[in-house]
Structure formats: structure tokens, C-alpha cells
Symmetry: C2
């Protein structure tokens, strides 16, 4: 039955991924497009619609027959109305994404924060399957987070709970993109690491990193960091380990506060350097979580990779039916 | 009808308070006893039973006719079984409090963490009435915390979620009673303040505090701190304001993480110096919470004072019926 099919879309700063899934959440169609946010909101909207149509065509489906389309977007956004409040990555401000897509596609649309949906899919289908209280942390350009509490995504009063990247690690620490100081994201994201790596490079301590990223450390990718560490850039390893340790300290606070049974660590940096991130986070947890709560939690690597957000977006529709 | 009456007990490190409440949560009987934890667990048990009986007698009730008895205790404890896992204040270890009291009293007993119950009563009957997502923070000898999420106490995987006093404020900060470093409690509790105040006293910067607490700063009470500040001990005001600011920074993290609609600030220190604690916490929140989430939250002083935990304990029974 066609109404069993759902499309999940991951709307990222650089790419749009659309997946068609069946009732068992097997992927039966997919399409990928560049976001090209600089071309403006109308163009991005058109590319989302085109990605949905292309993914459906690949699965031999009429988009009008979909049960709905879920979209994971950078936030903050209002999941109740599907309005993107403010997205620096996309350059959007109070954009009614759900309404616009519903008009264009003629099927129900739901919108949620990308990190929320990554956490939801890991809890329903991935690393934290069957766990009731799950914290998702996704470390890449920024640090995204999501909370599944009592088996359900937790939204709080604003709809935007779960901003794990903005836990305060040091009240007088480095300036964060959010305007405050010392947030986890300002200390442990890839952007923060790039800043420290640039200093190391100026000192001549990161020759392999400079080679890997073509001389411009501000454009460093997670894979470049992994490569430089592998090749022997000791300073880069120290910087990355310190960032991973801070993520572990933040997990300590989260464990003391929420007593989750699983923390899922994902995102580009964790995928590229899983061993370092898991080892440092698990070690830091020993020193910053209370033993009675720490013994009930596991830190697990994310399993769903690049499909996590789109699968979570599909779940959003599937579970609303 | 007698089965409408419930007793709530606040089992503290220094005193036991028992309240009899009617269906409308009006207090119709009360009794107070010293805990005398040093006399051992059996003696404390007997004094809890005696307090319940005395409070019932005051209300003209037969304790056997109660709907049940709720108890708020220092943790960590397992609210599902009513076993006190480990209470440094009481010196208890794996003590089956619920089972023992049920045998002695012959009515249903429920046990929960004292800070959880303080948060619950403030959300049901006090400062945060009608709010869905409430964080309770109680600053005294230690710093206790509780979470009401989606209108219900949140327990997490271990049953012991809500340890707000053990959010990590500085990974290399002062040693905490929990064995880790830099917890909020190690920086902003009355015990932490007493340590700093002792140094100020040695320097001759706290003459009024020394007078107020009879020369031994380690035994300082919240009222002594308030008195010393009032009398002009500038160093003590600086120390207390800094502690209050750290509580505000922790609230910033909590807002970014949970997006509550209300944070209730209570406990002995806040009662004694409400203006300082509220002003510093609200100011710190401006610098450490994301604006979109901060605009949805209020920081409110607790309203139920010394009755908060016992009322929460009564709610525990009333809502289970």
C-alpha cells in the first residue's frame, strides 16, 4: 500500500538527503542534492522538493501517495509549527518551512531539529535501540544534541531543548557562535579545533595537517584531522583528545543530571576518529559522573551514519500516523 | 473519610518533620523531632514512626487509617524499592526504609529523594504551579536538585536523576563530597562558602561573620552569612555573590539543555539571602543561556519553605492512589 511509504529529508548546510522508507524502515529510494544556501530560501525550497520527487521516482512511487514527508533542519526551530526561527547555517529567519513544503508537495509535512532526529533514529533503529533514556551528541562543525526521555523526544517549553553544545564548560572560556562564552561547542567542535590547529600550524607543529587540508586550516575536515594524527602530528592529537575529553566531561554532567541509560556519540569527527572520542569520553566520565549513575550508562558510537537524520525525519511521520 | 488523609515526612540530617494533610493539601497536623543520626538507623526509624504517630494524634487520627506515608530522604536512593543506597548525612547504606516503615506503620509507604519532592511540591502547590517543565535547585549545606518534565518527576535509568549539584562547573575545580572535582556543590554550597569564608576570616576580612557564628566559621549557618553581609563584611558578600553567580551559570546550562519554563530556587541560603541569589542568578542567565530558550523561562524563589519536602512526600502518596 502506497500510504505505507514515508520520505525523510536531512536538510544540511551543504547537502540535502531524501530517503524513501517502507513500513519496516528499509530504504527503498534515495536522492542527494547540494543545498546552495547562498542562492536563497526559494531555491533551497525547490531543491528539497526536487530531492523528494527524485527519491520517490527511484522507488517507483507517486509523491502524492506518500504518507508524509519529515524534515530535519538546523535550529532553533519550532517543531509544533515547523517554522525555522533562526538558522545561521541556512541564513533563514522565521521561515515557515512546514507550511511551504506542504503546499508544494500536497502531503503532511513535519519538521524537527536535525540532532533531535539523529537521536530519535539511533534510539529507535540504531545504537541505542530499546533504551528508554538516550542522550545524542553529534560533533562536527558545531555540536548538536538531542534527548529521548521516557522513550520520547523531549522538547521543553520552547520546543528547542537538547542544546548540549551550549552546556557551559568554562564561564570565561572562548566566545561561542551563540554569543555566550565557554559553551562546549566553543571548546570541542571542529570549528574550535580548527582555531587551535591554526596556531599549532603557525608554530610548525602541524605539517601533515597543512598538507591534508591544502594549506588552509580553517577549512579542515574531520578526515584531515584523522589523517594528520595518523601521520604523526602530535599537536593535533593533543588538541583533538582535549576536545574529546571536554565532551566526556559534559557527558559527566548529563549523567548526573539525567541518568540516561545510553549516550550516543556521533557526527563527522566521531566517525573519523571513533577510537579517540570514545576512549577520552569514557575516561572523563569516570572522573565526572557519580558512580551510582555512571554504572547505569553506556557511551556508544552512533550506527546510522549519514542516514541518521533522514531516518529520524521519516520516523517523525511514521509515528504520527 | 479517614482514608483521605496522608502523612508526608521530611527526613533530614538534623530533623524529622511529619505533616498530616487532607485532600486539599491543607496541613491538619504536624510533628518535629531531632534525627540524631549518630544514634544509629534503628533509633532514627523509631523517631520517624513516633513523628508520624504524634502528627496523627494532633489531627485526631488513627495512623492505621492513613492512605499512606510518603518520606523524603537524602539520596541516592531507589524510589522504586524505597531502599536508601547510600546517605552520607544519615550514615546509611542499602537500608530498606520503605519496607521497614511499612511493617511498623501498617500502611503503604513511598520514599523519594528530598530535592525531588521539594521540586514536586513547588510545581504542584508552590512557586511553579501549573508549569510543565520545572527545575528545582535547593542550596544549603549541599546543593540538591529535582526535575519535573512533562508534568512528572523525572527519574532516569537509575532512579536518581536530577543531581544538579554535580553539574561540572570546572573540571579542575575544588574537590567535591562525591569524590569528583569542580561540581556546582563544591563551588556554591554553604560548605564551599564556609571554606572561603574561613580564609577571609584569617585575613581579618570577616569580623561580623566571626561574631555571628561564634568564632567557628566551619559551623556557619545561612542566617550568619546574611547577618555578616548586612553588617558590612564586604568579603563575605563577594563570596556569596560569586556562589550565586555559579548557580546562575549552571541554570544557563540547564536552560540550554532542558528549556524549562520555570526554575525554582530554594534552600536555606536562598531563604536567608533571596535578593542576592535571585539577582545574581538572573544576571548570569543572561550571559549563559541562548536567548530563544532564555525568554521562555522564569527563575522564581521557592514558596513552601520548610514544609516543601514533607508536602512533596504527601503528594507522592496522594497521586499514587
Amino acid at each position: 500500500m502506497p500510504d505505507r511509504f514515508v520520505v525523510g529529508v536531512d536538510l544540511g548546510g551543504t547537502k540535502i538527503l531524501a530517503l524513501v522508507v517502507d513500513k519496516q524502515f528499509a530504504v527503498v529510494g534515495r536522492a542527494k542534492k547540494s543545498t546552495k544556501a547562498q542562492e536563497g530560501v526559494a531555491h533551497v525550497h525547490d531543491r528539497i522538493v526536487a530531492a523528494v520527487i527524485e527519491a520517490c521516482r527511484g522507488a517507483g512511487l507517486d509523491p502524492k501517495a506518500l504518507a508524509g514527508v519529515g524534515v530535519g533542519s538546523p535550529g532553533p526551530l519550532d517543531p509544533a509549527t515547523g517554522v525555522i526561527i533562526d538558522s545561521p547555517n541556512l541564513g533563514w529567519h522565521n521561515y515557515p518551512l512546514r507550511e511551504k513544503l506542504q503546499q508544494a508537495l500536497g502531503v503532511p509535512v513535519a519538521v524537527d531539529n536535525d540532532a533531535n532526529l539523529g537521536t530519535l533514529s539511533e534510539q529507535r533503529l540504531g545504537a541505542a535501540r530499546g533504551k528508554q533514556h538516550v542522550v545524542g551528541i553529534f560533533a562536527g562543525t558545531g555540536i548538536g544534541g538531542g534527548l529521548v526521555l521516557n522513550g520520547q523526544l523531549f522538547y521543553g517549553a520552547s520546543g528547542a531543548a537538547g542544546e548540549i553544545g551550549h552546556i557551559v564548560m568554562n564561564p570565561d572560556g572562548p566566545l561561542c557562535g551563540c554569543g555566550n562564552r565557554g559553551c562546549l561547542e566553543a571548546i570541542a567542535s571542529r570549528s574550535a579545533i580548527a582555531g587551535e590547529a591554526a596556531v599549532a600550524a603557525v608554530r610548525g607543529h602541524a605539517p601533515h595537517l597543512l598538507a591534508a587540508c591544502g594549506g588552509d586550516v580553517t577549512k579542515v575536515r574531520s578526515g584531515d584531522l584523522a589523517e594528520a594524527i595518523q601521520a604523526g602530528d602530535q599537536a593535533i592529537e593533543t588538541i583533538v583528545r582535549c576536545a574529546a575529553r571536554y565532551i566526556g566531561i559534559a557527558i559527566g554532567s548529563l549523567v548526573n543530571l539525567l541518568s540516561p541509560d545510553c549516550v550516543v556519540l556521533g557526527g563527522g569527527m566521531v566517525e573519523a576518529m571513533e577510537d579517540i572520542f570514545l576512549a577520552e569520553a569514557r575516561e572523563a566520565l569516570k572522573h565526572h559522573a557519580m558512580p551510582y549513575l555512571a554504572q547505569r550508562v553506556e557511551i556508544m558510537p552512533a550506527r546510522l551514519g549519514d542516514d541518521a537524520v533522514a531516518l529520524g525525519a521519516a520516523l517523525l511521520i511514521a509515528e504520527k500516523r
